[in-house]
Amino acid sequence: METLIMQIFNGFSVSSILLLAALGLAITFGQMGIINMAHGEFIMIGAYTTYVVQNLFRTYLPKNVFDMYCIAALFLSFLVAALFGTVLEKLIIRHLYGKPAESLLVTWGISLILQQLARSIFGAPNVAVDAPSFLENSLKIGTISFSYKRLFILVIAICCLVGVYVLMYRTKYGRNIRGVMQNRDMAAGLGVNTKQVDSLTFSMGCGLAGLAGAALTWIGAIGPTLGTNYIVDAFMSVVVGGAGSILGTVFGSVFIGLGGTTFEYLTDASLGKVLIFVCVIILLQFKPKGIFAISGRALED
């Protein structure tokens, strides 16, 4: 029984991480038809930002404030990644709208450049981030322990999800985004600055990736190749759920997260991954546009 509960928690935990990684991608992929292969590197940027913030806190601020670095890190990771995203968008992505093949290649090249940049600045070896002390250990209910870090990440993921939902469906900006996404010409005709909306949405997507990176520092390795570990799963979550649909991405993440951990538990890690991929393939045979596909400009082809 306990193992079952633990496994379910593990599944949701993995799903929450996938959701964080994939949320930004759902926005950029669904919004603009941009296949952003550099999305993983934005996660990496967020992780390295956290590392830098941690070091700054350690060097310049008194010890008792150290734990607060994680709050600063979460905000700064979002901002730094969003900044990189804006620069990228204005220089390069702007010219790739509606051209999926080109955007794939160009963003792939950008991902390699960003990886090497990280290697040159921080070195090839992994760097370590110490989790804040209030996240040490776990919540123990009976014999089951729920790691505080993973609970915190779950909370962050839910907050991001709610934040994105509120933004998209309850604010003027969100309405503009959805308008541009569904019918660009009409939105432009009604006075929406589509270029600005594109720029902001892409930055937001990248910022969310940065946030994911910050959360991931407490779970795994931080190195130049961090992004490559998450990019495939992030894309899978988005595709399974349906590009452009936030609910779809949630579903996709849960499907892959829970499904993956269940298969892994029943067999082993390698086989588990194979089985979940097979399930995704089968699912896509019946629903090629994902479960919750919405029609938008980017998907008309």
């Binding site: 633990m6 760097v127 123990k140």
Partner: protein
């Protein structure tokens, strides 16, 4: 509108020029760093005033984390030998190649080093997969490789000298020690490739002989980072100790997950075969504190040679750097080769191999001797515990260096394990 088009063209042109310049620049930089290469590309190994050697490690990709420091150690040894007059009165010239964590590239670069650079010997590789990829290249071209990393044994190529541990110098003693001190139930976790699979095959046979119970055996793909399920399985199986043969980034995720699940080394002891000082700094000492590792050398190893070595390494590369077993093994490989060449009086491969038999060297790890039968070296076994500074304290060591036994012929229980050469 016209202005926009002009601006776009100017931007595109500038970018193209910038890319062109940086491409040329990059080419120039790599040329400067490989100036040795361009100098005497067609010279044979010991013509002129220099002897050329090759270094072949992953300087990029997932294994760069571990291998760049081994290259640094080898370069340090070469620098020291050159400062002392070189080998056979000649200075050593180095050609460094990047295997890029890709086995096909390792094989390609090995061929290049042997056939077009005509190097006298190569120091290189880390993963068993890369070594297996270059083995046919060295054997068919009668080259010489010095391999500095602990591995699974079952090999003794005539063209490779192994300065890392054979399984009887690392894995087997570790299992014995843990069984004596912690209990009978063992869980095996490792990355999914040749080294962990072979190592676990050995351990399972040893477990049978020692009366241990293998309560779990989990393999994860290279680069796997989600260990929630694996740790859950470990918890369920409730072993007395875990033997960990994970490699690369996986170790980071695994130990963080273990700590998160509230498992410390007091609850379940783990012993890792591929975690050394270099990897500890990437994982974080707090996650590894109290856990064990099995090697033949630690930065804390107490010999006068080691004091000098650690000081020299830190002076050359920075106070923050650490030394570990593969770093030391790479360092001594260069010295052992140099000694063999001096004894043979030539860099000719066959003469060097014959001369190398029985050569001893006072290494930072203690006295090592090259075993002429299998081209491995005698090494002391040292089992250690990670401390909170991220260094390793020895808790057990053999009194004498152990004779290498890559095919485990001295163990009855290992019969049937050996793969034919």
């Amino acid at each position: 509108m016209k202005k926009m088009k002009l601006w776009k063209k100017v931007c595109a042109l500038t970018m193209t020029i910038a890319l062109g310049v940086s491409a040329v620049g990059c080419g120039a930089i790599s040329e400067v760093s490989k100036e040795d290469e361009t100098k005497a590309a067609s010279n044979s190994t010991s013509d002129g005033d220099t002897i050329k050697v090759g270094i072949l490690h992953s300087l990029s990709g997932t294994m760069a984390i571990s291998e760049t420091s081994v290259r640094d150690a080898e370069l340090l040894a070469i620098k020291e030998i050159n400062a002392n007059g070189g080998v056979l009165g000649k200075q050593i010239e180095v050609v460094v190649e990047d295997g890029a964590s890709d086995n096909a590239i390792f094989a390609e670069k090995a061929e290049k080093l042997l056939l077009s650079d005509n190097v006298a010997t190569v120091f290189g590789c880390w993963t068993s997969a890369s070594r297996k990829a270059v083995l046919p290249v060295f054997e068919s071209n009668n080259g010489l490789l010095w391999y500095p990393v602990q591995y699974e044994g079952q090999e003794s190529s005539p063209n490779i000298f192994y300065t890392g541990a054979a399984p009887n110098q690392q894995i087997v003693p570790a299992v014995e020690y843990l069984a004596e001190n912690y209990g009978k139930k063992v869980f095996l976790v490792g990355s999914d490739y040749v080294f962990p699979r072979t190592a676990n095959a050995i351990i399972k046979k040893q477990a049978e002989a020692l009366g241990l119970e293998v309560v779990g055996e989990e393999y994860t793909p290279m680069g796997h980072t989600d260990y929630t399920t694996t740790v859950n399985k470990i918890k369920q199986a409730d072993p007395d100790f875990v033997i960990n043969t994970l490699n690369g980034d996986s170790n980071v995720a695994f130990f963080k997950e273990l700590a998160d699940a509230g498992i410390s080394s007091d609850d379940i002891m783990t012993c890792s075969m591929s975690v050394a000082e270099e990897e500890i700094s990437g994982i974080g000492a707090s996650y590894l504190e109290g856990h064990m590792v099995s090697w033949n050398y630690y930065q804390t190893t107490d010999t006068p040679e080691n004091e000098t070595f650690v000081a020299a390494y830190k002076a050359e590369y920075g106070e923050g750097r650490v030394t570990d077993d593969p770093i030391e093994a790479g360092y001594i490989a260069v010295y052992l080769w140099a000694a063999a060449v001096e004894k043979a009086g030539t860099t000719d491969i066959d003469a060097v191999k014959t001369a190398a038999k029985g050569i001893t060297f006072q290494a930072p790890e203690g006295l090592v001797t090259i075993d002429g039968d299998n081209q491995h070296i005698y090494k002391s076994v040292r089992i250690g515990v990670v401390n909170k500074e991220g260094l390793i304290d020895e808790v057990y060591s053999t009194t004498e260096p152990v004779k290498p036994d890559p095919y485990l012929t001295t163990y009855d229980w290992a019969e049937g394990l050996s793969v034919s050469k």
